[in-house]
């Protein structure tokens, strides 16, 4: 238990507590409900972006198909609740994780055979297949109309229908996922992923089965994306093919890069930035265009994202 660890833990606890109680202490503010909604969505996408970060930032696998697992998880949560006739969190969230992980296993098995830009192309194409399935399997997914009427979950009789209750659930899950990723990042597994990113050839020469390592990261990231997807289904009470679309994959990638790939805080910041642009910008303004320009600017001038820029500034 080093001192810096304690300081970091303290900051995390403080920030999270403030966040989790936000609806309460901001109740007097007239935009409180709106802001709470935005924060919920930011947290959901922070989970999504953080899961992608495991692939892009840690393992160095630039995936442009991550929405397949986000949307896949969302659909699974919605469909499972309907088919099993229960709103228990365990059922829908469990279904989301299992389906997303299996999907990631299948897609990942093919995808990890490629590296770099080819991997990117492949994940893009494979995820589009999933999109097309979601679009066409109308009896299952509702097709282009989407799956509406998704219930918010229930845990041991406590339901999360109210916005503020869902808010707490999202905060709790976000914290959990954050802690898991924090642990992974500092573990031997996390280091191995970084090793694969930096020099896969050497990793193999040292005795690491890099292909399986990459696949495991792919599945883990997919499962976590599925969690985010389930939360999204609860949040919007709606799942659509848009949740598995390229646009969502790209948004996730943009979040990771703008925030800072390979860092823990980066994806959260990135999610906050992207969602602010998308939701807070007036609808007349071209959100996607702004996002595209901001993204290009970051790639050219601040490749390490906001976290990288802050680190550079601190060092200077």
């Amino acid at each position: 238990m080093t001192r810096s660890w304690l300081i970091r833990a303290a900051i995390v606890v403080a920030v999270w507590s403030a966040l989790a109680t936000f609806p309460e202490w901001s109740a007097a503010w007239e935009s409180s409900r709106f802001a709470a909604g935005i924060i919920r969505q930011i947290l959901i996408f922070a989970i999504f972006a953080s899961s992608l970060n495991l692939l892009v930032g840690f393992a160095g696998l630039p995936s442009l198909g991550h929405a397949a697992f986000f949307g896949g998880g969302a659909y699974a949560a919605a469909i499972a609740a309907q088919r099993f006739g229960t709103d228990e969190l365990v059922v829908s969230l469990g279904a989301a994780v299992v389906v997303a992980a299996l999907l990631a296993l299948v897609l990942g098995f093919l995808a990890v055979r490629a590296v770099g830009i080819f991997f990117l192309m492949l994940t893009l194409a494979l995820a589009q297949m999933v999109f097309a399935i979601a679009f066409q399997a109308t009896e299952l997914t509702g097709g282009s109309n989407g799956f509406s009427g998704v219930h918010r979950p229930v845990v041991f009789g406590i339901d999360f229908n109210a916005a503020n209750d869902l808010y707490l659930l999202v905060c709790a899950v976000a914290l959990l996922v954050g802690l898991v990723l924090w642990r992974i990042a500092t573990s031997s597994y996390g280091r191995a992923l970084v090793g694969v990113r930096e020099n896969e050839r050497r990793m193999r020469a040292l005795g690491y089965d890099t292909r399986t390592l990459k696949l495991s990261a792919f599945v883990l990231a997919g499962a976590l994306a599925g969690v985010a997807g389930a939360l999204s289904a609860y949040e919007f009470r709606f799942v659509s093919p848009n949740d598995v679309a390229l646009g969502t994959s790209v948004a996730g990638f943009v979040m990771v890069l703008i925030g800072g790939a390979g860092t823990l805080v980066g994806p959260i910041l990135g999610a906050a930035v992207v969602l602010s642009i998308e939701r807070v910008l007036p609808s007349q303004l071209p959100a996607q265009m702004v996002l595209g320009i901001v993204f290009i600017a970051f790639v050219v001038f601040a490749r390490q994202g906001l976290v990288g820029a802050v680190r550079r500034a601190v060092r200077a």
Partner: protein, 244 residues
Amino acid sequence: MIDIRELRRDFGGIRALAGVDLHVPAGERRAVIGPNGAGKTTLFNVVTGELRATAGSMRLGDAVLGPLTTWQRARLGLVRMYQRNELFDPLSAVDNVLLSIGSIAGAYRPLRSPRRAERAEAATVLERVGLADRRAVAARALSHGERRQLELALALARRPVALLLDEPTAGMSPAETERIATLIAGLDRSLTVLIVEHDMDVVFRLADRITVLHEGRVIAEGTPAEIRGDRQVHDVYLGKAIEA
């Protein structure tokens, strides 16, 4: 320990290895020398599995290497040092070595940080290669000689059974060369070492036996004294290197 028979490797029409036989008993220090293009690095690449053999067989102890992947061979204890450094550039020297040590216990420990024992071992290895005071420096910030030392450290940390050293002293100053040579000479005698080198001083100092490669074939093999006196080797090298 290392048993190679009739090893061939073709690249299209080019015979990089044209039937190499190499038998290195356990614990021996065997140097592989030959002019540029003789196939030395290709030999290493085929033995470690990064290149597929066109024909022939390879064994490490009792294990047949042919069907195994590079990482499977490494897990058996066949560890290599590269001629051109393959390091983890943005990571510190100690983090580099930790990755090597981490491979022994396996990668799937998502809830464990490297144990104290592993860190201690990393420190020891860095000490041995002379990088103890540079442990926190990023690999890309090290000098060429230091990077070479780190490259060796990565191989040693893996606790090899058979160590393949590809020009360990390439590009080093005399002092650095001396340090590395002493280090290799002091390696435990349970370790089998196969070393490709151009620096003849180092070769004659370290090798128990020398194998000479030329155009993908073994043209001579023997003790340093025998090789020094070998006429064919002499011709192949145009007399320059051997006389040194």
